[in-house]
Symmetry: D2
Subunit: 330 residues, 4 copies
């Protein structure tokens, strides 16, 4: 078996549109603890205290909560070229953007689910000085215990029309590992969720069902904390800020991650997570899960929640019947 | 066997003198996360976010780092009377103070080690309002993730001339449980440290050796965090504030507590801790430890540290030879 | 305000009847990690590795899963006498049993909810020898990492006809602290759950609704682990033994404890828990909770579960309508 | 800047020689919790419960505690060929071995430090059946809570004559990321320790000083546990087996990992660890540490330990003076 070349090194940033930019900025800086790296136009650039790149979140004023774009870093300068060749070889026609805030020239294309994504190699790195200068020489800045104090961007989950096809595209064209998918409870061939990864964990890219006429949507993106206990502490921090949690804390079977979900003030869903396994097999076999095996709820004691089917920008479901796609609890 | 009446319900507060009141206040509020409850004269009154009483720390300007006094709450109004009777029956001649900030009338006396201690029953309780109003009805206020965010006062450790005699006084006169003591490495009859408690843990009162001509000294006092992992997080918080740790993090055998020690800006030693066992036996047998059994260092891999023999106010040791009292590591 | 005398020092043991004694014994020893202390007749006596008394669980063969009895240790020899006087003064007519396995003479009475309870002072303590001899001098035995390796009995939750009256009985007659209760979502005067305690935590005695014609029932009893993370590890241990969890892991608002529930092979419900706050106020004000404040579910994201209304021995509910008593999630 | 091709995907196994094979086997299976995968000749093959390959430890009877060999898995079948070309291009003359237990043909060569290392691509995977069959479909087997229950092999640390040259070889010839090194306290150009990695953490290969006439030695190898708290639990497990810890628990600055070290019965050093950061930059800049920055001891409170300079097989140091290479505590 030949192993596909690893073309991407990591999820680098997400751009989020918010109709309430001030409240969203408060949420990401004061409550989650991100640092501001800069501003331009209607955008504020943010990063976690443990992140070396200029930003992992671009927060941009917009008419509704929505994804602006997703940024991936290639595995090297040549890998960037080969990723573009690989995309164009299967018919993608993207285009290059000039160097932007925080990174060099990027190739932008429209993903199968309609999202704007970009790939670049060159990055601007953080060198904090003054009171943010790091105590430890390998860190980009000091740890500041503000709010939940999230460390770094972890993953983004997008909607897409054909989940298995999108996952195969990620694997075959962009060199992701396609780690696993969940089948619908009543249809073992119907994929309701898939995970792909450029790293050691189960996913930095989730793919969920579209369920509406709108495309190009985001279900959530996640920030990482060091230890599972930090997620529980973060939940306490948010609760005591008077912020309602949407779902969790709990543990997903796929990826073994500890999580909870919350809506930021603009309306979009954010996850905080930790834990997860470390797997280094380039030829990892894609695992098929049944919900009853704990794909969503490791402990198999908790139902899914209707609100969790929503993605952004908001849209009416195609059918009035919401399929109970993920439930495993009796 | 008759069981002594439980006369005290808890360690209520400690008064610390500091020659650098502004820096000490910054340390206790910004770094440890205490809330300010009030001010009077040269004193600022502070409490942890989880504490129901008006204050657990009275921070008072003074010429050198030293103990002002220790405050105990009695087990009830009658228990306060009986504690006074019990003290006076063995010759203690203290006196009553008027109701003070945060509590009612108190009986003040000089402990065997020379410290001023007081016992009272009536307390003023915190009822936080506004943005500090608690989310949960049993809590005195919101949890605020500021700095190390310590929850509550845990214990105080004093020096005393005759450790075993002082511990027996606590047990026989004041109804403490005398949970354990450590013998010197080379003299199994010489007590170098003892623990007494009014609660379920091994100690809220530690007793260590005097070693100098000065009496009435404090070795350290400790604030509690919920989980052992919180102590490690707190250490990170302090490090990244540029504050040097003195000793730890580690785990003591006596009490099974996770700890680290640090000097506050005024010079006194503060411990942050968590963990510890829960024991409810009124007739618990006092346990004698050898250092090699891990009395100080549960893991028996780490030496003690010379600076840890110092207590406050500072004083020259009687002898130039510092006995290596607690070492268990080879 | 006068403070009631503390008559009881702790919950000492629970007797559980099981129709499947071999499987139940396997569950408690291999899966939960209890040690066997002895056998007599149809009973096996078990204890956690951190427990100093002879046993905390008496497992007895019986026709259905049910409570045998609950054992409390008094706060001293005189406190035992006064507890009996206090009970008899309000009309209880119990009786003394001879010294039994693990403890001295006990006064047995029928609690308001119909359960058999007993109070005693004298206890037999564990002194493990051989390979179970403790490494640390304060421990009754070695820590053995078998299964979930629970440390000690934590609490028992009983059903009762009038919850507030039963809680008042515990407080006024037996000296418990009555820490809090939950009102029904639609009736702020109807108590659906109450907590009483002899220790620093919110409860070692829970009181829930009867809901059937049968009395004297137990809802669950709980074993304690040191840290919250240990509860999550224990859940993993049980899952990988092929044992289905009933509810959780999660965190209760009342008591701030991390928990999960599981049915032992005989059918009864067992909880494993950790965390919880430490409060030492003899005059703690009883707190009234609304379910929407997170009384059951700290995070307010999770519904209650129908099966969790069941108690033991099993019985049909009086009404076919199960009231949704504890739900706070929307 | 061009980024070197990633030729290796992970550290796959370590072969350890032991003069006490029965006791060593007991230690690795009962105390650390490894599973036995098979036996051949004087070797027993072992794996952690979370490992997908046939084995991560080959335990072989031998005259003294020593490294047998280190096995690396290539990043793919072509990467194996290119790794061999790359080695031979700089003068290495290794040779191919037939497929062995657990993996396919391997290229064996002698590393700069004298160790035998091998690289292969094909692996045999675990498919546990019966009572070890996994509950979760992505896992190779059930989690069994036996002893410390380590999850997977983490890293190996070797001695070498010229640490910086060896690290450069790993980077330039084999595509490792060279993440950081520590300078001697009194000579900022003298490297006393270096870390290289094929994965997201700071190292799966450590390089330390030779200090004796013997070459080809191992300082330790490490098994991983999921969470930092699991390392503390593992320390308790080992202590209560009567096993003395050598160093720790503590946290290293380089890699941010929680660790402790222990000698297995054959005499070699084993580390258990967890934590550590996740970094995905192919062009990560190598970080130079000073001991006072916490390279060894994150908290800068603890001295190094003489016994920790020893490596295996044991040998007399060249000089009678042991340099105090790593100490940062005052």
């Amino acid at each position: 078996m030949s192993v596909p070349e690893r073309l991407l090194s990591q999820l680098a940033h997400v751009e989020l549109l918010t109709p309430r930019p001030d409240e969203s900025l408060w949420f990401f800086t004061e409550v989650l603890g991100l640092e501001e790296s800069g501003r331009e136009g209607q955008s504020v650039f943010l990063r976690g205290w443990g992140e070396t790149f200029h930003h992992s979140l671009q927060l941009t004023e917009g008419p509704e909560p929505a994804l602006g774009h997703v940024g991936w870093r290639s595995a090297g300068p040549e890998a960037l070229e080969r990723a573009v060749e690989s995309l164009e070889a299967v018919g993608y026609r993207g285009g290059w953007t000039e160097a932007a805030i925080g990174h060099g020239p990027a190739y932008r294309f429209t993903a199968p689910g309609g999202q704007v994504e970009e790939i670049f190699w060159e990055v601007e790195r953080v060198k904090a000085t003054g009171e943010l200068a790091p105590l430890f020489p390998h860190r980009p800045q000091r740890f500041r215990p503000r709010g939940a104090a999230v460390r770094q961007l972890d993953h983004v989950t997008l909607t897409t029309g054909d989940i298995l096809a999108d996952a195969a595209f990620r694997r075959d064209v962009l060199g992701f590992r396609f780690t696993g998918w969940t089948a619908a409870p009543d249809d073992p061939e119907l994929c309701v969720f898939a995970q792909c990864t450029t790293n050691e964990q189960a996913h930095d890219l989730g793919l969920g069902p579209e369920m509406t006429e709108r495309t190009g949507r985001v279900h959530h993106f996640a920030y990482w904390l060091d230890q599972r206990t930090d997620v529980l502490r973060a939940a306490d921090v948010l609760l005591d800020y008077g912020i309602e949690l949407e779902y969790g804390p709990g543990q997903h079977g796929m990826g073994e991650i500890t999580y909870f979900y919350v809506r930021e003030p603009g309306g979009a869903r954010v996850e905080l997570n930790s834990g997860g396994y470390r797997n280094y097999e380039p030829d990892l076999k894609t695992v098929k899960w049944q919900p009853v095996q704990g794909s969503n709820d490791w402990y198999r004691t908790m139902g899914f929640k209707d609100s969790m089917y929503e993605a952004f920008p908001p849209a009416e479901p195609k059918s009035s019947v919401k399929p109970d796609l993920f439930n495993a609890a009796k």
